[in-house]
Symmetry: C2
Subunit: 192 residues, 2 copies
Amino acid sequence: MSLALQDAGMTDDIGTRLKLVRQIFGLTQRELARRAGVTNGAISLIEQNRVSPSISSLKKILDGIPLSLADFFTLNFSPSDDVFFTADELPKITHQPEISWRLVGRKTKGRALGMLQEVYQPGADTGDTMLRHEGEECGIVVSGSITVTVGVQEKTLNPGDAYYFKSDIPHRFRNLGDEPCVLISANSPPTF
Amino acid sequence: MSLALQDAGMTDDIGTRLKLVRQIFGLTQRELARRAGVTNGAISLIEQNRVSPSISSLKKILDGIPLSLADFFTLNFSPSDDVFFTADELPKITHQPEISWRLVGRKTKGRALGMLQEVYQPGADTGDTMLRHEGEECGIVVSGSITVTVGVQEKTLNPGDAYYFKSDIPHRFRNLGDEPCVLISANSPPTF
DNA sequence: CCTTTGCGTTTAGAATTTTCAACAATTTAA
DNA sequence: TTAAATTGTTGAAAATTCTAAACGCAAAGG
């Protein structure tokens, strides 16, 4: 099981690749399908490699994560030491050019925690549609400042400040300052 | 015309992207179709964005170039000064992990020359199927050594050594040494 | 214990892509 | 200048993907 996951990392196998990414982001097939505007059946078939999706479908699906096509094919899950990670081993993810993430650890399956280093360039804005379906998440600002909206609350966080909320509350991150903001976040979705 | 090519660089537009890559490699729709094992009609439709290809089709097509899916989506044709290029501006191409290329200049359309920096890791082998359909090409070794086969001739080239041949003769590059080989090559296909 | 809920899977039919073969336009060669 | 060859495009049929609606299974709650 964990072997299969490791193997699948480098593969061209689109189905396994999609499944891994989906699970890393803590989404069910149905939830991703809803966000992407496709049916859950389509995602199921793709993940089983019973069909080879069209670019347009795959793009729609990845937009629901969100993840660019380039990142999807570039993402590297290749095995490494399970405990220590050098900076350049952390898989990089960029959807909008202004926002980039780095995953801390890869084998999220079977783990309780996911961790990200997130970089928001000045002007970056996640929009308010990024609701995750279950679990909780928290983070602490390392440098720069970031304006976080959670439900009806909003606050601009500076280095050392932090947040913690249930993921099913709509939330939004905006960098209204003029320098990049780096923060470390963690999430604990039971769906992992 | 040249404007369209510049614009197309950054785009998600798969059709234009494929067309650009195909032209950079000096291939016709039919020739690429033959190598890829698809029909020329399919490539035509894709390049016009009248259909959105399946991943399996796109992969087959890119294998005929050859170019990986990751590189295809990562390749950056974005505009820059037309005369000077810094190292990191040169679009990187990797098909096999052991072989990587960097294009010198992007706007090959309308130019007579294409130039590549090529890196062959120890053990790298292009195989003998890489025949380009017309034109001539030449190169000079910068570091390491490379064994080149052209038709019935074969020679191991060391730094400073060079080659020059008609592209329609079957040719093959192999790094039989134990250090990476860097070479600069140029080609002049009339098909550009 | 039973019901409910949520998960991934499956199947038939609708929608889309791909092939095959022909076409028009351009280039090459005679 | 004409004939032959080559290129990209197009239309109808074949093949594949996607949807919509079900299914089986497991976990959670009453």
